[in-house]
Amino acid sequence: MAKAHEKLFPGTGDRRAPQLTELSTPLSKAMRLRLFEWMVTTRKVEARMGTLYRQGKVVGGLYRGEGQEGISVGTAMALQDGDIVGPMIRDLGAMMVRGVPPRDVFCQYMARADGPTGGRDCNTHFGDHELGITAPISMLGALIPVVSGMAWASRQQGNNPVGLTYIGDGGASCGDFHEGLNMAATLNSPLVLIIENNGYAYSTPVQAQSQVEWFVDRAPAYGVLGMQVDGNDVEAVYNATKLACDHARSGKGPVLIEAITFRMNGHAEHDDASYVPEALVKAWSKRDPIDILRDRLIDEGVKSKRQIDNLEQKIFDQLRDDYEFALASDMPDALYATGGVYSEDDIGQPDPRRAGR
């Protein structure tokens, strides 16, 4: 018989009940609204990107974090100035919370000159050192030691930062997960590592990825603090991340947080995810992180349904300027292809091997 947590986390009822870090102190109204706004903004930016993708404006792949906004937003909101975050592909929310404007996201996906990498890299593969965001590479797990190294270095420089990065249930199989977390622990690095356990790594279900019951079970193997949280409850995610950051910041070592969630789309836009049982998607759709917080805000009288509807419409409308800016932005000059490889040549030079063009 399926256990009680099957209702909370469909598809996991055969595992032991997770030990969830619950919200300890109620969050302020202002904070709850900010969490809500950022989740809605993230969802709407990705939805607009879906439209642009179908219109052929996104030249490469589109990867969405639908259903996981509670994790990207809740974790990033718990950070402070001077903290470092290394977002993965489904963590657009974290980037925007830290200050990345939606127009950067649109320009980047549409490979425009005004994008943060000027067309050199794709999707959410961009960072902003000023905002404390460092860009991922496609090879999973690689951010873990890099973000740990950044946080360690910043502490050596007299700051008191946390480095926060993410990995999926699939990425947690990569060697860098082990090497990175193990070495972060030996350096006592102020690292907070979020495992977004969303059930699938591309088409591979979590059971084929790892035989530990929950990913948090790995924490003791590294001598780090492990926590579990309902990834679709943004308030609980925020709260758990705060506790984890306090722990890491006070010099007690890295923290591993397993956020239990579900991937509501395919791996990328081209993937119809027909391998995911329909019943599972249907069950999880009743646990949408935006819906959960919206219901709470209305039920608890923080905002009326009408006010919430207006707020969501306003967020949607505000994106128009951003994607229209991106649509009007030029494609990059071809010479930008070869510049910036080394410190000596920031601008590319015409290559005689392309003289025939």
Binding site: T117, R120, D121, H125, F126, G127, H129, T134, A135, I137, S138, M139, A142, I144, P145, V146, V147, S148, G149, M150, A151, W152, A153, S154, Q156, Q157, G163, G175, D176, E179, G180, N182, M183, T186, L187, G340, V341, Y342, S343
Partner: protein, 323 residues
């Protein structure tokens, strides 16, 4: 006072650490044990555990952490206990460090250094030359010194460089080369040097093969009177082709020598550039002398057969001159 090749490298690192507090050394057994080759003897006492960092056996995480430190403005020097182990960090070096400036506009000033090369009976995993695996990776600089003075001067420049530098030390030279080394003269990356002047043919090489080439040049001169010009590239990326071209303009014959395996080795790139740009100046085909296409074997007769020696250079030089 003369110092060895390995002492020269250690001196360069400690001098930079004294000059610049952002420089640190990180790797396996570099602190208490002072490194497998004792390069960092006394470093831990001088600089403390925050700047001489002993790590777990985790090359990928070591390079990964160093990248993070470099992003924050530090200048980590990463020791690979043997350069062969860089295979375990290939992703970090080629995908994270090398593409950092291009993708993020973020400087990644770091040196990844370690003992490379054979001739010490190290077997397949403690003897390799890895430069060819990294030459095809834009964003990396690759240095391979042959003398103690170069090792020091190039290490000073490598640490000060704003790009990731792969610094290939030849372990056969570690204690065999001993010379007077300038106290603080940085040698710019990307500059080859003429080790022996000659007008009859050019030998382009680097690393430990410089000495095989010089020995061969003397023998050829004695036997035939032909004078070889020996060029030590010193830096493989960027490549100083101008020095090579200048020599070939004079000699019109060129051979390429390296200890890396033949197929796909750096000589292929050099030969291609020479034939594309300098075909008219060549009176003979470009010949190559390199290690054979096998893993580095352990047993002396096997490794000695595998490695290029001066006798092979002499043999090929006679073919080159006779053409």
């Amino acid at each position: 006072m003369t110092i060895t090749y390995i002492e020269a490298i250690g001196e360069a690192i400690s001098q930079e650490m004294e000059r610049d507090p952002s420089v640190l050394l990180i790797g396996e057994d570099v602190g208490h044990y002072a490194g497998a080759f004792k390069l960092s003897k006394g470093f831990l006492e001088s600089f403390g555990p925050d700047r001489i960092i002993d790590t777990p056996i985790a090359e990928s995480a070591i390079v990964g952490h160093a990248i993070g430190m470099a992003y924050m403005g530090m200048r980590p020097v990463v020791e690979m206990q043997f350069i062969d182990f860089i295979a375990c960090a290939y992703n970090m070096v080629t995908n994270f460090a090398a593409k950092s400036r291009y993708r993020q506009g973020l400087a990644c000033p770091m040196v990844i250094r370690g003992p490379s090369g054979g001739g010490v009976r190290g077997g397949p995993f403690h003897s390799q030359n890895v430069e060819a695996c990294f030459l095809n990776v834009p964003g990396l600089k690759i240095v391979a010194p042959a003398t103690a003075a170069d090792a020091k001067g190039l290490m000073l420049s490598s640490i000060r460089d704003d790009d990731p530098v792969l610094f290939l030390e030849h372990k056969y030279l570690y204690r065999r080369i001993k010379e007077v080394v300038p106290s603080n003269e940085a040698i710019p990356l990307g500059q080859a040097i003429v080790r022996r002047e000659g007008s009859d043919f050019t030998i382009v090489t680097y690393g430990a093969m410089v000495f095989e080439a010089l020995e061969a040049a003397e023998q050829i001169a004695t036997e035939t009177g032909a004078q070889a010009e020996v060029i030590d590239l010193r830096t493989l990326a960027p490549l100083d082709m101008e020095t090579v071209y200048q020599s070939v303009r004079k000699t019109n014959r060129c051979m390429l020598v390296h200890e890396a395996c033949l197929t796909g080795g750096p000589s292929g790139e050099l030969a291609a550039r020479l034939s594309e740009e300098f075909f008219d100046w060549l009176d003979a085909p470009i010949l190559r002398v390199a290690a054979l296409d096998s893993p580095v074997p352990y047993s002396p007769p096997l490794e000695d057969y595998f490695l290029p020696k001066s006798v092979d250079i002499v043999f090929q030089a006679k073919r080159l001159l006779a053409y």
